[in-house]
């Protein structure tokens, strides 16, 4: 600790140079933090998806095919199943064709919110039950269009009503939030009973069932058992946990792994070279000073350590600053909501900073340690 003033004066010997190196290291690690944080953060988020929630959909196609809502009884009878909720989804637009949103129609059975990743106030759950044309709006969507409770929102869709119209109107009775990281941002929840009654086509069918199970560790067994019940029937099903779905969804970002690694590699290579050159230059300029402190009794080892310590101090502080910056910026990226910087990325970043400092300071430090006092003093 008593050497701190020495390091400090060494670091600030050329303030402009130190500030530039500090910024360069910060920027490199801010970029590292953002890219790696995005990748690892998405992986973590998908790994945290609920394993006790199964989605039962048609084996033919998740998107295009529907299932008869009557399957609910058979799914309910599978051991381990706690609750089955039928769900249908259709796309709609508000005012402009580009104002797209998804309408999620839910069969309001039992404690249905427990089979979703939504967080809904109990009052709103009750309100949805009460009014047939009611809708709950995801917070982000309500904020986007300034919708408030009591508003009646007109939507356009391709789903025709019995009256022939493809326009729908819903009464906003509440808002909710969704913790599913991969979930669509702009969604409203409506009453499936109302949709089924009002539409012309697809009556009595749903897009999928949400199934809550009692034991998350049994997810695979329960899923297989559900699918087994419908084998060779006209409605073969495919059951997957939310965890599996999230993982296959984030896989597409995983395809970018190679690119992310290449960028991080390029950033670190450029950085390493820059810091090494700068330290070399600095030690060369200070050879007279090192000769003097050696003359007053500092050992070779001490000089070696002083240079390493200076490099470490600057690199780690700068990397910390850069990573802090990335931590602040990361949640603002629009790719995924609620993304936060994983601690592991910060830890790896700081260790990389230590490695960069040690590697780039090694040669200059050895040179300074081996400095011969007489020669250095004479050349000055």
């Amino acid at each position: 600790m008593r050497f701190l003033p020495l390091f400090w004066s060494g670091i600030w010997r050329k303030p402009a140079r130190t500030v530039l190196i500090f910024l360069q290291v910060s920027i490199a690690f801010a970029l590292f933090g953002m890219l790696q944080g995005l990748k690892t953060g998405v992986d973590h988020a998908s790994a945290a998806a609920r394993a006790d929630l199964l989605i039962v959909h048609s084996r033919l196609s998740f998107l295009a095919e529907s299932l008869p809502s009557g399957l609910i009884e058979q799914i309910n009878s599978v051991p381990g199943v706690k609750l089955v909720v039928p769900v249908d989804i259709f796309g709609a637009t508000y005012q402009k064709p580009s104002d797209r949103l998804a309408v999620v129609a839910i069969g309001l059975v039992g404690d249905w919110p427990s089979a979703f990743t939504y967080t809904i106030a109990p009052d709103y759950v009750a309100a949805l039950q009460k009014l047939r044309t009611s809708a709950l709006v995801r917070k982000e969507l309500a904020d986007k269009y300034g919708w408030k409770i009591g508003d009646r929102i007109p939507l356009m869709s391709n789903t025709a009503q019995v009256s022939g119209s493809t326009n729908w109107a819903f009464d906003v009775v509440g808002t909710f939030t969704d913790s599913d990281v991969g979930g669509a941002r702009y969604i409203i929840v409506i009453n499936l009973a109302y949709l089924d009654e009002a539409r012309v086509l697809g009556k009595g069918t749903v897009q999928h069932f949400n199934v809550a199970i009692s034991d998350a560790t049994q997810a695979a067994t329960v899923a297989d058992e559900i699918d087994r019940r419908f084998v060779n029937s006209p409605q073969e099903t495919k059951t997957e946990s939310l965890l599996e779905l999230a993982q296959s969804q984030t896989q597409s970002i995983g395809d970018m792994n190679f690119l992310i690694r290449a960028i991080v590699g390029a950033v670190l290579a450029a950085l390493l070279f820059a810091t090494a050159t700068m330290l070399m230059q600095s030690v060369r300029e200070r050879s007279l000073e090192f000769a003097v402190i050696k003359a007053v009794g500092f050992t070779d080892r001490a000089v070696f350590l002083i240079i390493l310590a200076e490099a470490l101090l600057v690199c780690v502080a700068a990397a910390g600053f850069g990573l802090a910056l990335a931590t602040v910026v990361l949640p603002l990226t629009a790719i995924m909501q609620g993304l936060s910087m994983p601690t592991i990325v910060v830890a790896v970043g700081l260790s990389l900073a230590v490695a960069v400092a040690l590697i780039s300071a090694a040669v200059p430090a050895v040179l300074a340690a081996r400095l011969r006092i007489a020669t250095a003093l004479a050349s000055g």
Binding site: L35, S61, E236, D255, A274, T277, Q281
Partner: protein, 387 residues
């Protein structure tokens, strides 16, 4: 004249003595190389998407979808589709029939060969005129699907990426065995696409509406005639768009994300490389103070010295740009990528090379400015005594 002679003189000295300052010079070159390399390889994604999807787009095909619907949500009743066949200005095919194609798209699930991950892509039911509507389709193996049979053809990217698409492979769709009878290439596309007979697909999936109706115009200029005829007919609830517009609308978001990410990462790296260049050039100027002081003392202008430093910075950035572009090309050109489930090959084009060079010169200019000022402003008296 004097300024120019002095300037070239100093640049000459600088370059001939660059070997003595190898570390600083390499720092600039490597920094610029990495920044340009990353920028160009990332932009290559956007360029790849564009080349693949816009490469095959012509001006004469138009696409009709139901009013207000986007993409696969469009649904066109049979009678409207048949009426659309009689619209004016549509080119006629070999047998005198209008080149109008009725398509039904159904998403199909497949598993990736290596990772086993699930992905969706369209099975497109189409009518016989589609080979005239899409002349770029080339069968590479097997034969065309036959009408009324449960069989389809798959494109080669599909066969390469997914399992179960070799000729003769069977696949259960709606409990019926479908077989793969042919492979084809369609222009640049790397997206997985399957074609089959539209009637068999409609009966399999119990549909009686088409997703899209596509038509070939006699000449691109006939677009207005077709659109007016469409609007004049109250029984048709269709809108018409150029194929180009449809493709561009589909890609807008993806390309926006890719380009934003490219320029963001590229800019951050450029700032880092510029800082490195500033530092290196400062070091160069500092270590040569006596030299510059001497030059000033024997009559060289400060402007010439500053300009020479700036020029040096630009000259060191240039090999960095070329190297970075070359590395990006060697490592990433033609590489298959599928971010967000969209398949394409990265394309490192000459235009991207130029962007990379411009980017590098920008870094060189920004990086050289302050050190050049310092070199120009060195007080002669103290500079000469510097060690």
């Amino acid at each position: 004249m004097n300024f120019i002679r002095q300037f070239f003189g100093i640049v000459g000295i600088n370059l001939s003595s660059a070997g003595q300052r190898l570390g600083s010079v390499l720092t600039i070159i490597i920094g610029v190389t990495c920044a340009v390399g990353v920028l160009v390889s990332m932009l290559a994604m956007g360029a790849g998407v564009r080349r693949q999807s816009m490469g095959d787009v012509r001006e004469d095909p138009v696409i009709l979808n139901s009013t207000g619907a986007f993409g696969s949500q469009s649904s066109i009743p049979r009678d409207e589709a048949v009426t659309a066949r009689g619209l004016p200005s549509i080119k006629t095919g070999n047998a005198g029939e209008p080149i109008v194609v009725f398509d039904l798209m159904v998403p199909i699930e497949a598993r990736r060969r290596v990772t086993g991950t699930r992905i969706f892509f369209p099975l497109i039911g189409t009518t016989p005129t589609f080979t005239q509507y899409r002349p770029e389709i080339r069968l590479t193996a097997g034969r065309m699907f036959q009408r009324g049979l449960h069989e389809f053809i798959a494109n080669n990217p599909c066969r390469r990426q997914f399992s179960g698409f070799e000729i003769g492979d069977r696949r259960s769709i709606r409990g019926i065995d479908w077989s793969v009878v042919g492979h084809f290439d369609e222009g640049q596309s790397q997206q997985c696409i399957l074609y089959t007979d539209v009637d068999i697909l409609m009966s399999t999936f119990n549909r009686n509406t088409y997703t899209l109706v596509s038509a070939m115009l006699k000449t691109p200029a006939d677009y207005g005639v077709l659109r007016d005829a469409l609007q004049a007919n109250p029984t048709l609830h269709l809108e018409v768009r150029h194929e180009r517009e449809v493709v561009e609308a589909q890609l807008k978001q993806l390309k926006g994300i890719l380009d934003f990410a490219s320029y963001f990462v590229g800019a951050v790296m450029a700032i880092g490389a510029t800082l490195g260049a500033v530092n290196s050039l400062y070091a160069i100027v500092d270590s040569r103070r006596r030299e510059f002081g001497t030059l000033r003392a024997i009559g060289f202008g400060s402007g010439a010295i500053g300009a020479a430093i700036l020029c040096e910075s630009l000259l060191f950035a240039l090999p960095g740009a070329l190297l970075g572009g070359a590395l990006a090309w060697a490592l990433f050109n033609g590489l298959s990528a599928s971010p967000f489930g969209y398949n394409f090959r990265l394309a490192v084009t000459p235009a991207l090379g130029l962007i990379g060079i411009a980017w590098a010169l920008g870094m060189g200019l920004m990086g050289g400015l302050l050190p050049a000022l310092r070199a120009a402003r060195l007080p002669v008296a103290t500079a000469i005594r510097a060690n």
